[in-house]
Amino acid sequence: MIKIEHLVKNYGNFCAVDDISFSVEAGEIVGFLGPNGAGKSTTMNMLTGYLSSSAGSISIAGIDILENPLEAKKKIGYLPEQPPLYMDMTVEEYLNFAYDLKDCKYDRKKHLAEICEVTRITDVRKRLIKNLSKGYKQRVGIAQALVNNPPVIIFDEPTIGLDPKQIIEIRNLIRNLGRDHTVILSTHILQEVQAVCDRIVIINKGKIVADEKTENISRAIEQSRRFNVKICGPQREVLAMLKEKSGIVYAEALAERDGDAYTYMIESAVGVDIRKSLFYTLAEKNWPLIGMEALGMSLEDIFITIVDKSNERKSLRAEKEKGYRPGKTGIEKKIAADIMKNTAENQTKEEN
């Protein structure tokens, strides 16, 4: 549905988007993820024809946006970061304007009523936009993007600045839209992509650093086995034992101390349940195990690792800035590396 090839955008000497290629199939919901200034909005603005690209091509449903911008723009509904609302209009006037602007062929009354129903703004139709709350304004912005029922819908940070209840509503709305639209959604909130998207594209410094199905990433996360264990006993010896024990791929002593008990962070090999055998080993050595806590691994860590890696920064620096990050050196790094490798392979495959 959307095909982006070798897209480049330069601002003077600054390269905001650097040779991005990816494609989105019809009916897919793609999360476009990246830290601030990564080039998300620039890419979206190029996709929608607001900016032109310095090089590369974009085609929407087979129509090149530079060759035939009017036709391509008809296929897109766009909600920019700041919803483009005319504050002095009522919701109804505004939607009517969007209807005229997009040269919509559907029955005006019915089409707009449907959109209001979907975005739940029917009860504020007669109100001035400037008097609406932030959440309603956002929904009016979404409603505007839906006018003329475009096959591709692009949202730039749709849930920013909303309260948790509104965020959930908007996410549900986007998920519903994904049933019969192709949706691209940019965000820097990970739960959002995890909750809504079929696929995640991570972009950093203008380059795609990861492109993976959400379920794959989630599966990778579930495979991880990481625990904080609290063991009474001499720290050095316990740590040496943990490091040598089969089934443990990584062990590290934490600064936490409680009497003669120290806390360690361990990671087991994939597919191994280390808990029982660890208990017996410790019992043998007469080192009481007084606590064990499974640590979930978050997408956040993978994300930060991927971005960090692509920045070629030592994880040390991030640790210094953000305090301790469990597993920064461990399995996430491996998963991150795998994802990045897959992405690179896919890209070379596509190019060939």
Partner: protein
């Protein structure tokens, strides 16, 4: 284009700006009219029209100041530029909306002529001889109306162009007033210059010097072309500003 035209025209009336503009326009034109005709006991409307051009320096920025500055500030231009509308279509929609307001207010201000004709009728009835023409000259009025509409069209294009350069409406208005004033005052500077070449160039740039023939009731085709090209140059510049921003 028509969607933008309609929206723009409507927006003059859902904000106070349209009413303020028409109010000031009507008041100012009535004031200038009575000052130049009734108070001077004259049927000659030439000076009324030339004074109106001065009034345009203040009035036209009221129409043009928000055209693009506001869109830029509220980021609503993103909606227009990602909609299936060409940049030229967008600019023309806005230009025509401002022009409609302007021509509309000029037509409204024509009610000023009614009392002048009424006075003329009374005087003509009282006059001893029918040989002398008493009353305003129709050719002069129609010629001047066409003339000031052309001048106004060019001024709107200039004001619209300036509006694209800033996102502050006030800045846009102030700069427009300054530029328009400069365009007019340039004609007067000529009186103090003796060098023929300089005079010729300034005369050529000056907006006012082209206006004179309309005041005699003469339709000057060269002036028509001059104003139309001035208008299209600034419309073209406006389109270019947006093109450039896209490619920038």
């Amino acid at each position: 284009m028509f969607a933008i035209y309609r929206k723009e025209l409507k927006s003059y009336f859902i904000t106070p700006m349209g009413y303020i503009y028409i109010g000031i326009f009507m008041a100012l034109s009535a004031l200038l009219f009575s000052y130049t005709t009734f108070m001077r006991s004259s049927y000659d409307v030439t000076s009324y029209f030339s004074m109106m051009i001065f009034a345009f320096v203040v009035l036209i920025p009221l129409l043009t100041m928000k055209l693009f500055a506001e869109e830029k500030k509220l980021r609503t231009e993103q909606m227009l530029l990602t909609a299936p509308v060409t940049i030229t279509g967008m600019v023309m929609g806005k230009y025509l909306a401002a022009l409609t307001m302007f021509v509309g207010s000029i037509l409204c201000s024509c009610i000023n002529f009614i009392p002048l004709y009424a006075v003329a009728n009374v005087e003509r009835a009282e006059a001893a001889s029918k040989a002398i023409h008493i009353g305003p000259s129709g050719a002069q009025i129609i010629g001047s109306l066409i003339g000031i509409i052309l001048v106004g069209a060019a001024f709107i294009a200039v004001g619209m162009f300036i509006s694209t350069l800033t996102e502050n409406q006030l800045a846009s208005a102030v700069i427009s007033v300054a530029v328009l004033l400069l365009m007019i005052v340039l004609g007067f500077v000529n009186n103090f210059i003796s060098n023929y070449a300089v005079r010729f160039v300034i005369d050529w740039i000056s907006v006012l010097s082209r206006f004179a023939p309309f005041g005699y009731g003469r339709f000057d085709f060269a002036a028509l072309l001059y104003y139309l090209s001035l208008t299209s140059v600034f419309i073209f510049f406006t389109v270019r500003v947006y093109e450039k921003r896209r490619w920038g």
